[in-house]
């Protein structure tokens, strides 16, 4: 057997060991902590379908992680993931309620279709997530520019800042959004 082939053999072995360890890590994580996590989520959310869904989501996130061997505090690790998902969940619910409230008074002819409603809630949630953490001036400047189509000068006047500040705000907001989505 050539040396190269030998190396290859070793590599395959390694990969197998890693896969096996990974599977058993996940199994163990699930078996030891799933009911505890469910309890934790129930306490936070009420024992609704939401809690069960979020638990599944949490473990599916764990499945996507590359390296699981470094988890020292599994419960802290799981609650960190679950917490992130909860924040998004609450954000979506919040947006949904606000959006339904906004369209509730529209005449029937103008009422959006169920599909449109879904897409709008998705999109607005995504935008809200991207903008999270931006200072209000920058956030507003960006929203007015994107949604109301105001010119830089008009935004500058609304915010009582210079046009060059507005340009910086828009660039900053954009950079922030890109960082948040990637």
């Amino acid at each position: 057997m050539s040396t190269a082939a030998l190396y290859q053999e070793v590599d395959v072995c390694n990969v197998n060991t890693i896969t096996q360890t990974r599977d058993s890590l996940i199994t163990e994580l699930y078996q030891s902590h799933n009911s505890w996590l469910m309890g934790w989520l129930c306490k936070k959310l009420g024992c609704s379908f939401d809690a069960a869904d979020l638990m599944q989501d949490t473990f599916s996130r764990v499945l996507q992680k590359d390296d699981l061997s470094n988890i020292k505090e599994p419960r802290a690790y799981l609650t960190t993931i679950a917490h992130g998902l909860m924040v998004n969940h609450v954000r979506r619910r919040d947006i949904e309620a606000a959006y339904l409230d906004e369209i509730a008074n529209l005449p029937q002819a103008e009422a959006p279709s169920p599909e449109t409603i879904n897409i709008m809630i998705e999109t607005l949630t995504k935008i809200d997530e991207m903008l999270d953490g931006l200072p209000s001036k920058i956030r507003n400047a960006f929203l007015w520019f994107q949604l109301e189509g105001l010119t830089h000068a008009q935004i500058a006047e609304r915010l009582s800042v210079s046009v060059s500040s507005v340009r910086q705000y828009i660039a900053k907001a954009l950079l922030h959004c890109i960082t948040m989505t990637s």
């Binding site: 009420g46 609704s48 609650t79 609450v90 109301e148 660039a171 959004c177 989505t181």
Partner: protein, 321 residues
């Protein structure tokens, strides 16, 4: 995920600003094209810009801005702060009141919560019974001096137990508007938009608005009082058999205007139920199950001979026949 090139991204966002400024010249556009073609990283960065900006295309500006600014007040960087502090709050769940006004995040402070349409009974450490109505959040803070229940949102019903601790600890329900101190008793507390309301079913409670400079009022069995953070309103008598019916899964109404009945039932259901102003004042009496609000809505429509229109399960409208 590809590593983002910060320099390229900065350039890309600046290009975007210049090109959409309304002042871009042909020469700008030519330079921008040259910039994009100069380096695959530039091209990639520009794609990121497009990815973000295309999200906004075709959105209704008025609705979108209203929704996105729903709970976003310029003065409040607190919301972000709250997010950062959440992990701390987990560790010290009694930490408290600071995040109180940040409604979406109440969730994470609460020891007990119910979802919409859910009613749950809990037994507290001292043996007191606590029933949570729909969409309610409370946190429990018992120590050597005091038994404190913080009502963060919604409505609770309390039956206090005989205190067995050697030192008597007062039992207090606290809302954002003030405190309700039990004087050995059965009572309920509910938070409305800008006030709290207490109904006493047995014995008495003492109510103190939080900013009321020590003002207090004793509320006796059969009496109801509403209070804001500064003052309380005149005490009123209420129907004791109807007011705690929710703990048994019903609401009971007696000649109540349709609009108000709908508001009450909506508490137990996801989505929005609206009522045409022309029929808002029609009066209804009866008992309705809160475990099946849709059935209740149908039976109301039938009784009053009015129409129900629903575009989606989230949006139900009552209309004149």
């Amino acid at each position: 995920m590809a590593q983002l090139n910060t320099k390229a991204l900065r350039d890309a966002t600046n290009w975007y600003v210049q090109l959409t400024s309304g002042e871009a010249t042909d020469s700008d556009r030519a330079q921008w094209k040259a910039w994009i073609n100069a380096d695959p990283e530039h091209k990639f960065a520009w794609q990121q810009v497009e990815e973000v900006t295309k999200t906004f295309i075709g959105l209704n500006s008025k609705t979108s801005i209203a929704v996105l600014n729903r709970s976003y007040t310029p003065a409040s960087s607190t919301r972000r702060q709250v997010l950062k502090n959440l992990s701390l709050l987990f560790a010290f769940s009694s930490a408290g009141w600071i995040t109180y006004k940040e409604k979406p995040w109440y969730h994470f402070m609460a020891d007990y919560t119910t979802a919409k349409g859910e009613i749950q009974t809990f037994r507290l450490d001292d043996g007191s019974k606590l029933v949570l109505n729909t969409d309610t959040k409370v946190s429990i803070h018992f120590d050597e001096q005091i038994r404190r229940v913080r009502l963060l949102q919604g409505e609770i019903y309390v039956e206090t137990a005989q205190e067995t601790n050697p030192v008597y600890r007062p039992f207090i329900v606290q809302t954002m508007h003030g405190t309700v101190t039990a004087l050995g008793t059965r009572f309920s507390t509910r938070i409305y938009k800008n006030r709290s309301c207490v109904n006493v079913f047995e014995d008495a409670v003492e109510v103190r608005p939080i900013d009321g400079l020590g003002d207090k009022v004793v509320v006796n069995a059969g009496e109801e009082v509403k209070f804001t953070s500064m003052l309380f309103q005149q005490k009123m008598l209420f129907d004791m058999s109807a007011a705690d019916a929710w703990t048994k899964g019903f609401i009971i109404v007696d000649n109540m205007p349709l609009a108000k009945v709908i508001d009450e039932l909506s508490r137990y259901r996801h989505g929005v139920v609206r009522c045409d102003p022309a029929i808002a004042d029609l009066e209804i009496s009866g008992a309705f199950p809160i475990t099946d609000v849709d059935a209740a809505l149908l039976s109301i429509a039938k009784t009053l001979s009015i129409r129900i229109e629903s575009f989606t399960p989230f949006l139900v409208m009552f209309k004149p026949a």
